[in-house]
Symmetry: C2
Subunit: 363 residues, 2 copies
């Protein structure tokens, strides 16, 4: 059993729970080592205070689960079978107790009700906060994987910058980045790669399209790569030619905001203080209303995970926590600028996973 | 308001519900026309029996939602605000009733509890079955989009076949397919493209890796493309050189199974009868235990949606329903064969969305 699963089992025992039912494939892979993608089928990991945990998988994934290194029991079901009754049957062989915890941020209401029906319980506790507490501090091994994922993201930006030329479309730049990375052996992107030109980048969730690159525009990249199940996430905005003074002005403000946030990070500081460090720069410059999102999000096996770096989050940062710092200004009809790196909190500050320079740059 | 949203509003009224809260981004896009991807943020569509529906989005998506053509109210929240209280406040301005329906197959337990707390209700009904009933019959407009998505998938297979040569890796073939498609303007894949060589394909959820193609192997492709939010999904297995007699044998059985299933499809037949038509071929040939999944799944805006074509599903097929037919045999240490097309049920039979030939083929 992994150290992490041991910690979770200890919690289940300390809380006098009869069992915890985990449903999120990412959580399950974190604790079990089995990277499953059940789609709409049922995948579960059941953790008891004393008895060995078991995995429950769709039949067509059972072979992969067995090959994953998981050494405790695996049960599986075929599509015509009733998974919840089968899970309940296995649980009842180990406990008849009804003090249960589930992942409330993942389990859907219908599955919760199926589990309630199959086991005859009324209410479950939420194990998500404890899972977040275990997952939020990254191990050396996790940090190594995240560093390699970050190196891939730097490589991706380098390919993207080189692909910029007059007339190229946003989609073509995305295609070029992903193709070159796959050829180099990258295992996949962390999310849909974003490349946006000029004022199209003023929509922070804009989708790359057939817009052609013109001179004197800013180009916004937001991308990440996966490495052994760990994610990276970085954004850069670079100039193709010489954009308007306004565009240049917001670039400088965003960079200053990110710098100020980074300098504020160390153990003991709160998430909201870090958000404030960046946000105050943007607000003081008069662009507060154009910075419409939190400063950052946790990262690890998921691209967005606990903790949020945002207003109203009093969470105290600790060594080993990892998150993005990504201030942005999205000025309609002018430009969108975002600068983002992910960091691990160190003893006295923080270290980035990505190294691509951030000085204002024209190509 | 779209015809579909009208139908849903009529249902809310007929059932004497005070409102329905929709949470699934795919459902929301189907009914509202707004294609949002809120990630871990909150996106909702609230439908009342009489009052106009409203959209609730993260602040950074509000602009996109406004530009999507949605003409009723949109409310949004910033990351530091409390979305459930804001949604409840809007609902309370329209109704003080507590007969509520939610999407139980999508809403998570924690969000359900947040909604319960904010509105003070105890139990909600499930609106998923009604949504499935509306969505399962595709309109002419939807079928046109699905046909174009299917044409893209045929193109993808053509590129994939052309990319096969001795020593190429599975990942390289995937990279080639996705790159060429993006260059041609394809809006994206429906899911992670699968290309698996030889016995690696015996894992039906295998992930493309660095395995190099050797002569005398079968190659399994499973891929799909998106077009205007609609999906395609197809699998082909072709021979690179002349594989073993065993591999050839299972190919012929799988093709016969698919053919028999296709011939059984028409309005009035049940989903389980279609599954049986294919499964009996594979069972009679002695490979029943190696066909470890349902025969097919519904398809539309989602790659997997209602209905399942499987044992135990008595659903009666109707004109306009769309689903995959994808028998497979996964013989460890020999090969994996799957042949898949998606079909729309027509007046007297069915029509495929993909046309790539299925006769056994060696290249």
């Amino acid at each position: 059993m992994t150290t992490q699963l041991n910690a979770l089992q200890r919690y289940v025992k300390d809380q006098n729970l009869d069992f915890a039912y985990l449903s999120d494939p990412t959580t399950i892979s974190y604790f079990s080592g089995y990277e499953g993608e059940p789609h709409e089928r049922v995948l579960g990991l059941v953790v008891f205070p004393e008895a060995a945990p078991f995995l429950f998988t769709p039949a067509l994934d059972a072979e992969d689960a067995r090959n994953s290194g998981w050494s405790d029991d695996i049960y599986s079901y075929q599509d015509h079978q009733k998974p919840w009754e089968m899970i309940a049957e296995q649980i009842k062989q180990r406990t008849d107790g009804n003090d249960i915890a589930i992942e409330k941020d993942h389990l859907t209401v219908d599955r919760y009700e199926s589990l309630q029906d199959a086991l005859g319980f009324v209410q479950a506790a939420d194990i998500t906060p404890e899972i977040q507490k275990i997952k939020v501090i990254k191990s050396e091994d996790e940090l190594k994987k995240m560093q390699i994922a970050g190196d891939w993201a730097d490589k991706a930006l380098e390919i993207g910058f080189a692909a910029l030329h007059e007339g190229v479309t946003e989609k073509e730049v995305v295609a070029e980045i992903e193709y070159q990375l796959k050829k180099l052996g990258n295992e996949g992107m962390s999310f849909e790669t974003i490349v946006l030109f000029g004022d199209h980048a003023a929509s922070p969730h804009g989708v790359p399209g057939d817009r052609k690159l013109k001179r004197e525009e800013l180009v916004l990249f937001d991308l990440g790569c996966a490495y052994k199940g760990y994610m990276s996430d970085t954004s850069r905005t670079i100039a193709f030619g010489t954009p308007s003074d306004k565009a240049r002005e917001i670039y400088d403000i965003v960079l200053q905001a990110q710098t100020q946030a980074i300098e504020s990070i160390r153990p003991g500081v709160t998430a909201e203080e870090v958000d404030r460090a960046a946000r105050s720069v943007i607000e003081n410059a008069g662009y507060g209303e154009y910075f419409t999102h939190r400063l950052g999000h946790g990262i690890g096996k998921s691209i967005h995970e606990f903790p949020n770096i945002m207003e109203g989050n009093p969470l105290v940062l600790k060594e080993g926590m990892c998150f993005s710092i990504e201030p942005g200004i999205y000025l309609p009809e002018v430009a969108g600028v975002r600068i983002e790196d992910c960091f691990v909190v160190t003893k006295n500050g923080c270290e980035p996973f990505t190294q691509t320079p951030k000085q204002y740059r024209e190509i």
